[in-house]
Amino acid sequence: MAQIPNLDNSPLNLKSLREQSQRDLVKILKDIRGKKCLVVEPKLGGTLSLIIQTSLLKEYGIELRHLSAESVQTDCSKVVYLVPSQRDLMKSISSHVHDDISKGLQREYFIYFVPRREIQCERILEEEKVHHLITIGEYPLYLVPLDEDILSFELDLAYKQCQVDGDTGSLWHIAKAIHKLESTFGVIPNVRTKGKASGIVSDILDRMHTEEPMNSPDMALSEINTLILIDREVDMVTPMCSQLTYEGLLDEFLHINNGSVELDSSIMGVQQEGKKMKVPLNSSDKLFKEIRDLNFEVVVQVLKQKATSMKEDYTEITTASQTVSELKDFVKKLNSLPEMTRHINLAQHLSTFTSKPSFLAKLDMEHTIIEASSYDICFEYIEEMIHKQEPLVNILRLLILFSESKSNWLTVKRALQLVVEDTDTANPDDIAYVFSGYAPLSIRLVQNAVRSGWRPMEEILKLLPGPHIETKRAGFTSSPSFGTLQGASNGLDKIADGRRSLVLVVFIGGITFAEIAALRFLSAQEGMAYDLIIGTTKIVNGHSLVETFFETFG
């Protein structure tokens, strides 16, 4: 199965976006004639694997390398760097060039910045005295479809940069990405934001509209009805909790990277000593699509059930006489066998982690903290973690959760019914199933925003960090015919061809798989008027989010 997700079932034509990105990249490579060595920054390389197959790149006469501190070993006289606009990478590239010069190598250098060239990077190239030797270009990749309903801006450090450095460059990037989406799918008429960063993105987006007005007279034909912007800062509780959905747990323990996990092949039942293998995880895998968002407890049962029924079928086929069509059916079912095996292996591997008492104890503690029932127990638990020298990330994760659940938390928790008793994880009726009883705050906000907007819940919103804004884009309010149209359809507007209209939910600072599961759950509810599309700076979990704040010394 390919790692590049199949986007055929997307509610938005994400395929065209991806194809555009493919074309842009191919054009860059074609325009540089002859053989060349393409040096890609490793993380970006991972992102690109979601857009284009590496084997395809080789057709354009390319030697592919990953950017590292070591200089590039190649016979090609042209070296093309494809890198994100990050200052720290400029030193490596400069040292490569200096290295070549000292060896008397004459090469042509190109740097393509993703998504755009930035003066702070070029400045360093100037200071390193290599700027004049390099041809500079841009590869305007502002977003990547991770799956049918997920777009990532691939801004790993966005949250840290905004919160710690005061560098809001990523917010401009997000606005630009949304602006680009709008130029394809129409201007989004309704915007709801919560949190400081969300407000800034919305402001920049408005500015972009005044700066470069979209020349579409048919603004009413916008495919996306509402944009909801949520700043991660508003809810730091949820990502700190251990995710309990299947995909969430896979991410917590095995780290899903660009839509796949890498693990020992022995775990997947392949006997190749010590070899690692990549297992793609996206909705092209039908079984995964079915179970990814379920609570892990349920996943185990579902898999068990499926295995049993298959076994029964098998016994039947070997004992009784079968018609040809029945045989056919059976063979069809057999086709799903590789998927079954894959997920049984994965689930089995996961349960070695989830059955550990330490994991259960941690879950227990997380729930105690969320319920804000006992300060002392939590405090002692965390102190003990420190004494036991548990990894710093784990300690910080719980500490953040602990400190976040202070002050207004009780009020918010009660008003938004964040803790739901007696959650039936097998037949859930609320998003709380994703954390076995805790309904993620962020998604509760989205749920309310979609249903009734901010107004009815203003008092609660005031208790959470940052402003909340609800706007209707100027172009829409001025057109009276559209206004009435909106009113008449009462928010339940459908696009002509019967598809539901769309809400784009953007998480600034990252979203977890558990939250994605909760959003999909909402989207699948009866009476839900919209399909949800998710935009995020990056898919995160408590671990990866906390790690961005680390600075390595020594």
Binding site: I119, D165, G166, G169, W172, I204, E211, H387, K388, Q389
Partner: protein
Amino acid sequence: MANVSVAAEWQLLYNRYYRKPELYPMRWKNIDLSRNKVACAPFGGPIAVIRDDSKIVQLYSESALRKLRIFTSSGVLISDTVWKNPGGRLIGMSWTEDQALICIVQDGTVYRYNIHAELIEPNVTLGKECFEQNVVECVFWGNGVVCLTEGGLLFCIPDFKVMSPCQLAETGAEDLPNCMAVIEPKYTVSGNVEVLVGIGDGILIVDEDSVQRVEGEMVQGPVQKLVVSWDGKYLAIFTHDGRILVTDINFKGVLLEYNCESALPPEQLAWCGLDSVLLYWDDTPLLMVGPRGDPVHYFYDEPLLLIPECDGVRILSNSILEFLQRVPDSTVTIFKIGSTSPAALLYDALDHFDRRSAKADENLRLIQKSLPEAVEACIDAAGHEFDVSRQRSLLRAASYGQAFCSNFQRDRIQEMCKTLRVLNAVRDPEIGIPLSIKQYKLLTPSVLIARLINAHRHLLALRISEYIGMNQEVVIMHWACSKITASLAIPDATQLEILLDKLKLCRGISYAAVAAHADKNGRRKLAAMLVEHEPRSSKQVPLLLSIGEEDTALMKATESGDTDLVYLVLFHIWQKRQPLEFFGMIQARPLPRDLFISYARCYKHEFLKDFFLSTGQLQEVAFLLWKESWEPGKNPMASKGSPLHGPRIKLIDKAQHLFAETKEHTFESKAAEEHAKLLRIQHELEVSTKQAIFVDSSISDTIRTCIVLGNHRAAMKVKNEFKVSEKRWYWLKVFALATIRDWEALEKFSKEKRPPIGYRPFVEACIDADEKGEALKYIPKLADLRERAEAYARIGMAKEAADAASQAKDGELLGRLKLTFQQNAAASSLFDTLRDRLSFPSVS
């Protein structure tokens, strides 16, 4: 019939009709073409006139002052200027494609004028050799020129846009050529200009590198005149024996031959489209020769100038301008005397219809099947008309016919109306651009608009671009810039208002570009006012910087939210200003300040320290120093455990002192102090143990390492130095002892005193090390029954676990433990029984 009069004006040449409608009576006064050098631009362009200085000045009737005058094609004066350029006689004068006037004088200097008779600097010269030998002849084409010197050398400017002259290969001939013609670069195989030189008894083809003699029968004997057709495919040659020949450009095949019976070559030889050739001697009628049949003579009593166009020739005299063209086919089918073509019948039908004659219907029925062609012919013919009323009647005929057509492209008429409106507007004598429809299509609307704005016909250009749905930005932009240049005396505020009033007509226009123009014209204040209106920050900010409005630039960049723009401004100011001034500008602005700090943190530590010192943020300096204290450790050249800790500790001490300066940072101060202390102790430990494993580890790790090494005294010393709590001490020591599997010591430790955290650490450490036996020593000592149950469960002792759980009366725990023992049927049922028993008393 009405149609007769139209065809009556036509002349027949072989089987083709020609017509010669008058475009304008010339509005100029007292211009005698014979006494002037005249340059007419093709495509109905301007006419430059200057007295021919090779002719004697008529005293009293002409001013001694020479003036260069520029007229429209209708003879309306656009501009004039006094000619006082040095360099000798004016030899050649012609218009470029961009409508600049090129004037080449004897010494090879090239002067350029715009349509407003303003000299375009700088002047160019054709080179030293050209300067030494006078230029005697110039042959121009659309965008270049070839000049001949007295010495027979050829110089060329291949492209007026580049203006770099070059010399062509030398012909080596002694005599000067009789005549020259040029094949434009775009029509030659090499892509370079080729010159056909009629010299001696033949023709030479000269380019940059080579000279080639043309071989062939038809070039027997001297050639007197040569002209290349506008498409570069044919050549008209006037021979020494008075014949006019037309061949293809490679001298293959004679397409036309006519004996003019004149030993003297014509003064002007010009192509009329591609169908016929015109010859003009000033004392005989104008002669038009076609491929066959008798030539046509046109009689004039004035001197003439032939202006070749792609589809005919404009004939300029002192008093009128005419357009000689082959009558278009559609026009012929309609107006030819006796024509019964469908188009003619349709045109006739309209006439009947207007007169309410039933014959209209009859005509229509006759041509029912060919109605679409008839309509199309009427539309096409209308397009070729210069006469507005005839355009109208032809279009009415088309429209009348269209009403009876079911499948006709209806927008054809509308399109033609639009085109004709544009053409009629520019043909107006005031504007004076008599374009034919073919010329218009070839020129393209955008070039026409460019020419109109170049002639400062902004309003018309605006209207046309609006009418045909083109972007008006070009026009308004040019207008605004011209307005600024032209009215330097208008005060800034007034000027701004005038400009804004028009600029707002065009959404998305670049105010920054207009502002940049104002700045270039020394109107910095106006520029600042204009740039304020630029909505695109990415254009606004760089301009603000270039006009020195740094503060505003910083503000606008910040507002845009585009961090790249903020950096642009930051680096600009950083470079231009003194550090303190720079710091002052960014200090109170969060985004620029934070971006600067973020950048400087990576690359400009010292400068960043200066910044923090200037703002009094000593703690930030301290943090920087503290961070720097790690640097020496990174250096792979320095071995660990060396006196490296010296400079490191110095940096940390410095940081500590700075932290101590402010009350708010006592924690940091203390931490720094302890860090230094730890480093010192670790260094001592490395010296005493001779093992480089301590430096840069944490206090806990240091303690554990000491215990693992068996150095309990040192471990205790670290514990005391840093006031490590008993709880932590126990965890550390238990795990350290388990690491080295010193179970004896562990047991001894457990008995030292009652552990402050109970026995759980002991149990966990043993279980983690997979030592069930050791674990069992401590499990019974666990005070919490649930903990005890779970510990038993972890080492697989189901019964003990169950007992403890039931003692704890915890049903939930029993359930969970049962799950753990799921594989073990006996254990599983054990839990069920216990749980059942448990639930009973809790009910009561």
